[in-house]
């Protein structure tokens, strides 16, 4: 292996241009993947935050007793889907309404009795806010005799789920397209590297080198190139993150496993592309 390693390193010295191109290609492709990951990660974080706000509200009849409420609250709190439960009195409801709808303040002030109902506001746990969970909780609320009506955001939850599904599809489509293009660039770059050294390869074979011996330095070079490309991509992604973060909007940095994944992906990519390119080309030399 020592010979192959020496040769692989020498290749970088001998054709820095080609090596640079391969590294740039891998880095660029993975940078795009990284940017994409950054976006995906931040969008999914944002979605999670929105999810945190998914609420089911039960409007109460005015004749609900404190005892009934006590029992109901305890039962509801024990549901696995429930994160937080808040009891909003009639007075609080009116205050909020007056606050939120200033143009109707006169209307509310003119009223002799408060027409707004008290309510129980249930906030769901992040992982438990699928449309099914929401409707489960809603049904449960509805079951209480003192609950007049249940409101859970008019398909709002479904909308979030649709956005998520769409986003997932977009991620798969765009990510796939980029991976394909990146693959083409890398394979081409490595084929050029082999092509540029076809003379060397043919001389090696004439001197008695086995196919494995001929292949090893190229494959190793591919691995190193991929590794460098992956590291560069991770660095570029970080730079992009820092710039966006500073000049545009607050972003979360990716979990470190994602970064490791980018670097590993580059390495594996370099390995596969070079072995395919070398094998295919060796038949032609």
């Amino acid at each position: 292996m020592s010979y192959a390693l020496r040769e692989a390193l020498a290749a970088f010295r001998r054709t820095p241009l080609l090596t640079m191109l391969s590294v740039v290609a891998i880095a660029f492709s993975l940078f795009i993947v990284g940017l994409f990951g950054l976006t995906a990660f931040n969008i999914s974080q944002a979605v999670r935050e929105v999810e945190n706000k998914v609420e089911v509200v039960g409007y109460l009849r005015d004749d609900a007793t404190a005892m009934q409420l006590q029992v109901a609250q305890e039962e509801l709190r024990r549901l696995p889907e429930v994160q937080e439960l808040r009891y909003v009195t009639k007075t609080e409801a009116l205050a909020t309404a007056m606050e939120e709808m200033k143009e109707f303040r006169d209307v509310f002030t003119d009223l002799e009795s408060n027409p707004l109902p008290a309510s129980l506001e249930v906030r769901l746990r992040p992982g438990q806010s699928s449309p099914e969970a929401v409707s489960r909780v809603a049904k449960r609320l509805q079951a209480y005799a003192f609950v007049e009506e249940v409101d859970f955001g008019d398909g709002w939850v479904e909308k979030i789920y649709t956005i998520r599904r769409l986003f997932g599809a977009a991620a798969t489509a765009i990510g796939g397209a980029f991976a394909l293009v990146a693959g083409i660039i890398i394979a081409t770059a490595i084929r050029i590297a082999v092509f540029a050294r076809r003379e060397e390869i043919s001389i090696m074979r004439l001197v008695g080198a086995t196919d494995g011996f001929v292949q090893r330095p190229f494959v190793l070079e591919g691995i190193i190139t991929g590794l460098l490309g992956g590291i560069t991509a991770a660095a570029l992604t970080w730079v992009a993150f820092a710039a966006l973060n500073r000049y545009l909007f607050a972003l979360k940095w990716l979990p470190s496993e994602w970064i490791v994944a980018v670097v590993v992906a580059g390495t594996v990519f370099g390995f596969l592309s070079s072995i395919v390119a070398v094998r295919r080309h060796l038949e032609a030399v």
């Binding site: 020592s2 010979y3 001998r14 003379e199 060397e200 001389i203 090696m204 074979r205 004439l206 001197v207 008695g208 080198a209 086995t210 196919d211 011996f213």
Partner: protein, 232 residues
């Protein structure tokens, strides 16, 4: 060692390069291969290296037959021979010494043994002082001698030398040929394609095979055409 039996070679774009060529070179022989430019000498060399396969007939070299050899056995065959190519085939991005060492690395020689052997054989061809130069920094004759050194460094059983003195002056050519004779005397088989008829005439003790337009037209010491059962 080498046996060609009714070998022909056709190139799609230029027709027949060899027609019904048969000869047998025994172990330890030194044979000159002569003929006009384009007669087919280099083609014979390529067939013996199995860098090309005959269109018809059979080439047998050191136990391997062109009809039976598998792709992955070819490197084993090539390790038994040293080749001086007519156009040298040096790696441009390696020094003279590295080019020579390369032939050893390929065969998995111990690293510690490589440098001394490369150095010794460069000295033999009179190029020790140019060990660190790249091919582009060498004169024509110097390049040729690097190619010769590379062919010899493995101490092969068989040396194929295609026009190894074309870029050498008389004195250097004589030196190289003396080297070949020495090594031949130690048992190495040598097949040397050359135009240098002075050299051929000066050594009448060696066998001469002459090609013309792809056919053998003269063989000064043909081995009996009957197939001997001995190793081919």
């Amino acid at each position: 060692m080498i046996r060609l039996s009714s070998v022909s070679k056709e190139y799609a774009r230029s027709g027949a390069a060899l027609r019904d060529v048969s000869f047998h070179v025994r172990k330890g022989e030194l044979v000159f291969l002569t003929g006009h430019s384009g007669a087919g000498k280099s083609t014979v060399m390529r067939l013996i290296q199995m860098a090309d396969m005959p269109s018809g007939g059979e080439v047998r070299v050191s136990g391997f037959s062109s009809k039976l050899i598998r792709q992955r056995d070819i490197p084993m065959l090539r390790r038994k021979m040293g080749v001086v190519f007519q156009d040298f085939r040096l790696l441009r991005d390696r020094t003279a010494e590295e080019n020579v060492a390369f032939a050893l690395e390929v065969t998995g020689t111990k690293r510690s043994a490589i440098a001394p052997r490369a150095h010794r054989v460069l000295t033999q061809v009179g190029l020790a002082h140019k060990a660190r130069a790249y091919p582009d920094e060498l004169s024509g004759g110097e390049r040729q001698r690097v190619a010769i050194a590379r062919a010899l460094v493995n101490e092969p059983l068989l040396l194929l030398a295609d026009e190894p003195t074309g870029n050498l002056d008389e004195w250097a050519a004589k030196g190289v040929f003396e080297l070949f004779r020495e090594i031949n005397a130690m048992g190495m088989t040598v097949l040397m394609a050359t135009h240098d008829l002075d050299l051929v005439r000066a050594h009448p003790q060696y066998r001469v095979i002459e090609l013309s337009q792809g056919a053998v037209v003269y063989d000064s010491a043909p081995t009996p055409a009957t197939r001997e059962p001995q190793q081919a």
